[in-house]
Amino acid sequence: MNPRDYTAWLDGAASPRQARRVERELGAAAREEKESWEKIRVLLREHLKPCRLEHPDLINARVAEVLAKPSAKRIQLAPLHPWAWAGGGALAVAALLAAVLLPSFPPPAEESALSRVLSARAADARMYVTAFRAPAGRGVVVWIEGAGYIGPEEKVR
């Protein structure tokens, strides 16, 4: 029997389903058990009085002192779940493999000193685009032919 169901049933706080379950398990003894518990409760209520403290003020002062003290509770980190370790390990392996296997960027030094156009595409079929290295100079050029004409009266700046 679930002790939580049982105590809730004794206290009269059980849901109908909990009560049915407890009463089914206890069978005929259920009624007797509840009556004896009721008797105990009545007796306790009648005879159990709070005990007298000899120095109530001193005890209250000590309790207040303890409550006022800043808590020196140690912060404890929750232990890591094994899956977290597995995840961390997998991340480390992935980083290592990426560093070793992926093609390096930037490319080797002799290539990295120069710019290069990898692709250039006109948005309009009436335009023609070509790319080349600037002759005797630094840099690369994307040359658009047929990009249109802006009248001198129009503002560009």
């Binding site: 980083a95 120069l114 309009d124 600037a134 690369v140 990009a147 004409y149 802006i150 503002k155």
Partner: protein, 142 residues
């Protein structure tokens, strides 16, 4: 726990090495004038290439913009009201970056280009003609 913390800190320390590239962009009007006009200071180092490639002798800086573009992000570079670019950096490392740029004349997309850009190796884009000159856009990794 200590191992995991060390690993995470190492990764964080490694991250800034990837770098955030700074892209300088400019819009230039190239024209032929007699006598040639003095080259603006900001364009002095580009003038020989501009003359040679585009065949003009005078250059006006219509606007410039410098922006940091985080790898994986896209930014609008708007050096002028009419000519601007959208730039996205896919990789960056050392003194270079890989970028994808869209070049616009107003709302009209002209070209989409992908380039590996090295420091001191600008990308010139020949845009539309303007009056008797030519619009040229410049992108440089700084």
């Amino acid at each position: 726990m200590r191992l995991l913390t060390t690993l995470l800190l190492s990764l964080l320390a490694w991250a800034p090495a990837w770098g955030t590239p700074t892209i300088w962009s400019a819009v230039i009007l190239a024209t032929n004038e007699k006598p040639p006009k003095p080259v603006p200071e900001a364009l002095a180092e580009f003038a020989p290439t501009l003359r040679r490639v585009f065949g003009y002798n005078s250059f006006y800086l219509l606007g410039e913009k410098t922006k940091e573009v985080r790898p994986g992000a896209e930014e609008w570079l708007v050096p002028s009201r009419r000519i601007f670019m959208k730039v996205g950096v896919s990789e960056a490392g050392g003194e270079r970056c890989r970028l994808r740029t869209e070049f616009y004349d107003g709302k009209k997309l002209l070209v989409t280009a992908e380039a590996d850009l090295a420091e001191d190796e600008p990308l010139y884009i020949r845009g539309p003609a303007w009056g008797r000159g030519q619009i040229v856009a410049l992108l440089e990794l700084r």
